[in-house]
Amino acid sequence: MQLPATETEAKKPALTEETKLFITFWLADFLFALPVEEVVEINRSLDITPVPQAPSFVSGIINLRGQILTAIDLAKRIGLKREKEAHHNVIIGRDEEPLSLLVEQVGDVVEIPLSQIEEPPEVIEGLDVQFVKNVSKLPDRLLVILDVRKILEN
């Protein structure tokens, strides 16, 4: 599904409070989120060609309509232990080299009031916090908002 780039400042007229849209996805029992404006598109499983000698968190390369992208094993990148195969591609990088982040399952698009976006705690069990930008406490669980810059860093 192709996501339009312009829906960033979406406001619900009923609410006076400012909100932000996030795309959520699952990886090893965590619910992660990325701001919609960071995500170019989401793709179901694409063939991955492994690249020998590449950094460990790089799964390989994918062919996205004739463009060759690097596929990042997001779980490995952020220090997670994942059990299931991650087949879904979250393509990020609008203004720079696009990358595919491999995730297990794509969730909903959620709208979160700015007031509920918090600084991350010092430690999140099973996760390298340096990749976490913010968190938000949803009724049933913690939403972990990832720091795209950090993920893209070499």
Binding site: D47, V51, N63, G66, N154
Partner: protein, 908 residues
């Protein structure tokens, strides 16, 4: 507004093209200062710029062009001759014009800067000077000059006048300068020009040669665009071409995919359709590629100016020759090689070509020659930068590399010339003794190499000290689409660019016999040549299953050939090179990726990167070659050598036959008596030689027990003290004499994977004790002159040394023929010759001597490694007087003395 903007754009584009040409023309002019046609062409270009500048009201530009034109007109009419000063001034004018044009392009306005006005004043004064000079040499009458302003109004109908007036130039310049300072006039009036400056325009018109008429005309008919777009050419944005190229690439991929599907379905109609599509696609791709092709002349044309300026600033004289300027290359490559080429040309002039007086001293013409040459070769473009300068001193390169800490002195000693030259490409290397403003700024050849390799090209240096250097770049024609060989390794496909491919070899149990393990590396014997091979799976670092059938792909990395073992060879395919992301930038073994016909991806192997990764060194390959050689030579050329260490890092060798005994002693047995180190040995005191006292080598470490190599001469004995006996092996020694020219060392060779010094035992013993050897030479009033013919450098040196030590005067020859020639020139008392030699054997030589009247009585002694009775018989038949074994020094000397006594006593 729109129209004017368009015209301005066209003007700038055209002016830029013209200016490029001007640079060249000026340089040419310097060589042919009287070339009218050239002068007219330059004049026209400047004139057009002046006219158009006037039209737009660019006053500074107009004025600079005006005065330049003024000077040029004098040159054109032959009133003055173009000297260096004049051309310098004119070139400066061109530079200023360029700068203004650049500013116009960026801002649409002339730059406001004092320097332009300062230069304008300079130029004006200079123009005046030229005018005066011209007047002195028969300038046109003054009245004519004063007439000109009056004719202003009639300028249009007027016939071209030869001379613009020179008198009023100063005022004009002033006027321009002042108006420039006071106000910024964006545009001149479209119609008549009432101002002072207008005069310049009016004057310019009459003398405008035909091609330049376009600009003044425009003033009258507004509707006519300035630049005529002829029907045959259209300017196209490069970006558009790039997009077309990408699309063509995608089309090629779709075509490939379709062809695969069609071959599977095998429907006749579909087959036809795809075949047609295939043809059209190929042609389309070729044509689009062609639109991007440009002659390399576009880059080469910049060099006459660069070379000229460089030569001037370095005080050298350089003649630039350009060959193959019409060779075509993809424009992206043309852009990319500009900087590397400039750097190489600068290097050639700065470091290569000598100052004129030095050149004359060396017997070269004072003017150096620099050749820029381009040509096609096997789907690639070769660009050569050749100079006839001083060449590169390999030793200096090594020295520098040691100083910079790039290599250790030990490494330097082992390096071949080729490897040493490669040091130039190491980061942080610069051969310039001093840092000049031209080259030697630290960013150097490493950047050039990286840039060339980025393009998929290679760089190679050939140099002859004192005679010149040639740098050769090999560059692919295009970057985007390349033919490649697809291979597999553990289920994945990889593409290898066809340009690197030499040949394919199937590995069957039969062909596997050609694989040889040498040290840690494997080599494949390909038609007698040893080619290092490596497994692709090993390069990729993946677990490989052992396989029955594999294939060997022989590749060339520019510097050398090597073989890559792959699982399967698929097919040859045109692939579109796609870059890999930044996460892969540290992986040197891939050049990119491509999408195959079935939509799957394949990584493209970087052949140069792989060859570097496996660390193949020319030395290893040489070693392999040597080992093959060792197996093919006859047994009689082999000899037993003894390998030993003094310090563990250095390996030495001596012929085993020279050693009388090997023994061990305890350290406490060593005594230092009367300034001599001795050891109690078999009831006698035997002198000890520590090699480090005579050779520049690492000292013997302290040990509890040492080894003794005992040498005997009659009753006398002496021993080398060494730390360890490594081995004694039978081998063919291919001695390199050049690397170590040290007394006591015969040369070096690689034995058992290590560089080994072959020691001259006799010399070292003599250094230790000059009276050790008994001189048994029959001494007359002068020493006997011996001619020694021996092809092996190892034996030649050793025998020559022991003969010389025995008191003979020794001349050497490298084979029978050489000996024969030497015998013709000089008298010798005796010939000592090897039997087996190239060109002319000892037997042939002996026969020839015996057949020659003057030499018939020359005593001849033959030396051989092994003397059999059969050999002896053949030798005696040929007229050889004595037969001895090379290494039995004492016997050789005795027999020689005996022979000489016999012959000359008889003669006397």
């Amino acid at each position: 507004m729109g129209f004017e903007e368009d015209v301005l754009k066209d003007f700038i584009t055209e002016a830029k093209e013209n200016l490029e040409r001007l640079d060249e023309e000026f340089v040419e002019l310097e060589q042919h200062p009287e070339d009218r046609e050239l002068l007219s062409s330059i004049f026209r270009t400047i004139h057009t710029i002046k006219g158009t500048a006037g039209f737009f009201g660019f006053k500074t530009l107009e004025a600079i062009a005006h005065f330049a034109e003024d000077i040029l007109s004098k040159l054109r009419d032959g009133l003055v001759v173009a000297d260096e000063e004049t051309i310098d001034m004119l070139l400066k004018a061109v530079d200023y014009i360029k700068a203004i044009i650049a500013a116009l392009e960026e801002t649409g306005k002339e730059p406001v800067d004092e320097t332009y006005l300062d230069f304008l004043v300079d130029l004006r004064n200079f123009a005046e000077k030229v005018a005066k000079k011209a007047e002195g040499g028969g300038a046109p009458p003054k009245e004519k000059a004063e007439e000109a302003p009056a004719q202003e109004s009639k300028a249009e109908e007027q016939k071209p006048s030869e001379e613009p007036p020179s008198e009023e130039k100063p005022e004009e310049a002033q006027a321009v300068a002042e108006s420039q300072k006071d106000q910024e006039e964006p545009k001149a009036e479209e119609k008549a020009a009432p101002s002072e400056e207008g005069k310049a325009k009016a004057e310019s018109k009459p003398e405008a040669p035909k091609p330049a008429l376009a600009s003044p005309k425009k003033k009258e008919d507004k509707g006519v665009p300035h630049v005529h777009l002829t029907e045959t050419h259209v300017r196209v944005d490069v970006k558009l071409l790039d997009q077309l190229m990408n699309l063509a690439g995608e089309l090629v991929l779709s075509r490939n995919r379709l062809v695969q599907i069609a071959s599977r379905i095998s429907d006749a109609e579909l087959q036809n359709a795809t075949q047609n599509l295939s043809l059209v696609t190929t042609e389309l791709q070729e044509k689009i590629m062609k639109t991007r092709m440009q002659p390399i002349g576009n880059v080469f044309n910049k060099f006459p100016r660069i070379v000229r300026d460089l030569a001037r600033s370095t005080g050298k004289k350089v003649n630039l020759r350009i060959e193959g300027a019409d060779t075509e290359l993809d424009r992206s490559i043309i852009d990319a090689i500009k900087d590397p080429l400039t750097h190489l040309v600068r290097n050639s002039i700065d470091h290569g070509i000598e100052e004129p007086d030095i050149r004359v001293q060396m017997g070269k013409p004072p003017v150096g020659t620099l050749v820029l040459r381009a040509y096609h070769e096997g789907g690639q473009v070769v660009i050569e930068i050749e100079d006839d300068g001083r060449g590169i001193d390999v030793e200096k390169v090594k020295q520098k590399a040691i100083e910079k800490g790039l290599i250790t002195p030990a490494e330097a000693e082992k390096m071949s010339d080729r490897e040493a030259l490669a040091l130039i490409f190491k980061p942080g290397f610069s051969t310039a003794q001093k840092v000049t403003n031209i080259s030697g700024r630290g960013v150097g050849m490493d950047v050039v190499k990286t840039n060339v390799e980025k393009l998929g090209g290679s760089i190679d240096i050939q140099t002859v000290l004192g005679a010149g250097t040639t740098v050769r770049l090999k560059i692919p024609l295009t970057l985007a689409i390349i033919p490649a060989l697809v291979v597999t390794c553990e289920g994945q496909r990889y593409a290898i660019p066809q340009v690197s491919l030499r040949e394919l070899v199937g590995l069957s149990p039969e062909t596997r016999k050609n694989i040889h393990q040498i040290g840690d590396s494997e080599f494949f014997r390909l038609r007698g040549e040893m080619v290092p091979i490596i497994r692709l799976s090993k390069i990729l670092g993946i677990e490989a299953q052992p396989r029955e059938n594999e294939s060997l792909v022989i590749l060339n990395s520019g510097a050398m050939d090597f073989g890559l073992v792959v699982d399967e060879i698929w097919d040859s395919e045109e692939i579109v090179v796609k870059p890999l992301g930044k996460h892969f930038k540290d992986i040197s073994i891939f050049a990119g990726a491509t999408i195959m016909g079935d939509g799957k991806m394949a990584l493209i192997l970087d052949v140069v990167g792989i060859s570097r990764k496996i660390g193949l060194k020319v030395e290893d390959v040489d070693k392999a070659k040597e080992e093959t050689a060792a197996k093919t030579v006859g047994e009689d050329e082999q000899q037993f050598i003894l390998l030993f260490n003094v310090s563990p890092e250095e390996q030495f060798a001596i012929p085993l036959a020279l050693v009388a005994r090997l023994d061990k002693i305890k350290a406490e047995k060593l005594e230092f008596v009367g300034g001599k180190e001795i050891v109690q040995y078999r009831g006698r005191s035997m002198p000890i030689i520590r090699l480090e006292n005579y050779l520049p080598i690492q000292p013997l470490p302290e040990q509890e027990e040492y080894h003794l190599l005992v040498f005997a001469e009659g009753e006398r004995e002496v021993a080398f003290l060494v730390s360890r006996i490594v081995d004694s092996i039978q081998t063919h020694v291919k001695l390199d004499e050049r690397l170590y020219q040290i007394e006591g060392v015969l040369g070096s060779a690689i034995v058992k994977d290590r560089t080994t010094l072959f020691l001259d035992v006799y010399k070292i013993i003599e250094m230790h004790d000059p009276y050790f050897f008994v001189k048994i030479v029959p001494q007359e009033e002068r020493p006997y002159r011996v001619l020694l013919a021996e092809d092996s450098p190892f034996f030649r040196q050793m025998i020559a040394n022991y003969l010389a030590a025995a008191g003979y005067e020794v001349e050497t020859a490298v084979d029978g023929l050489d000996a024969w020639e030497k015998l013709q020139k000089e008298p010798f008392d005796v010939l000592v010759t090897d039997i087996e030699m190239p060109n002319m054997t000892g037997i042939e030589l002996a026969k020839k001597i015996r057949a020659d009247e003057r030499l018939a009585n020359l005593p001849i002694m033959a030396l051989t490694s092994l003397a059999s009775d059969e050999d002896r018989r053949r030798g005696l038949e040929a007229g050889i007087d004595e037969y001895q074994v090379k290494l039995e020094r004492a016997k050789v000397l005795e027999a020689l003395a005996d022979l000489l006594n016999r012959k000359y006593a008889r003669a006397a």
